[in-house]
Symmetry: C2
Subunit: 185 residues, 2 copies
């Protein structure tokens, strides 16, 4: 079975929403907190809004790239990783009409998505969820955890990615920044 | 939004089940008929069993292969296509732990999956649905329609695929053969 995730925005959750910036397309409703529920089933509490996803197989990385990513990517939940970001992304129909070889060429050979990512591990802990096949209005959910001192490098990471050819195919993107909640609600 | 499909087995449906052969893994319960509902939503009638899927983006074909497939694949619903097959497939965890380049190499360079398929169009009309990310006990659903005179070539197609290296990674497969129902139930 696939592992499912529900990001539930509302009054409760381990993460306090610090800012929500709509980069492209429709925005998301404001909320105070965010909870990330990773489980066998989608979470039943739907809050102000919920985005569901699944941990699925890799789509673009080669074995060599994966070996480098696995070797240098930190785990989620590090004690000093008090900052996080949830960035849901939708790509255009034009992107999805491309074949695998065309998407891969844009993704890595021309946009260096993995290479840019590798410059920012081990500071930034990433996790990717897929939701296109679920019929969500998003294709991917990217989740990142990092220490307060690494806010700058994280801004640099997303800034570099947004300048790539790959990002011309992004039709909707919201950049949600979070800090670990001081007290549980 | 993705297009969804529900294959509902039971007492009703456009297709009469002629045979169900379990090739690998757990079998499916016997039923008389099968309906293929392709729609915006999954079908609510769940019958004896239902398998849901989605039409999603291509995963392995290159632009060149896709051009050849599109040029020679017939549409579903041809008047003389009175035979069909539904073959749901699940692959092993080992397959899904492979990276994209490794899966592609097994799929086409070593198993010639697309090349074998191209030998059998335009006689066989194929349609592929994905369901791994939906949490179904299947990864793909393959649907084929063909004329009565093309039963032999269809057997040849699935026989050749089952001999490939790719098929060593298939952990569950049921081969369901159907004929268009004479009367609607």
């Amino acid at each position: 079975m696939v592992t499912r995730v529900s990001f539930v925005a509302g009054e409760r959750g381990e993460w306090t929403i610090e800012s929500m910036r709509t980069i492209d397309g429709e925005s998301l409703a404001a909320a105070l907190r965010l909870a990330r529920h990773e489980d066998d089933a989608f979470h039943r509490d739907r809050g102000v809004w919920t985005i569901d996803g699944v941990r699925s197989n890799d789509r673009y990385v080669t074995r060599d790239e994966k070996a480098r990513l696995v070797a240098s990517s930190p785990a989620l939940g590090r004690a000093d990783a008090t900052c996080a970001a949830l960035i849901p992304i939708r790509k255009t129909d034009e992107w999805w009409a491309l074949t695998q070889d065309e998407r891969r060429a844009i993704f890595e050979e021309r946009s260096h998505h993995i290479a840019i990512g590798l410059e920012h591990v081990p500071a930034i802990a990433p996790r990717l969820y897929h939701c296109r096949d679920l019929g969500e209005p998003w294709d991917f959910l990217t989740w990142f955890e990092f220490a307060d001192r690494d806010r700058g490098p994280f801004d640099d990471l997303v800034g570099k990615l947004r300048e790539t050819e790959e990002w011309r195919y992004v039709s909707r993107e919201v950049d949600i920044r979070l800090v670990r909640s001081q007290e549980s609600l």
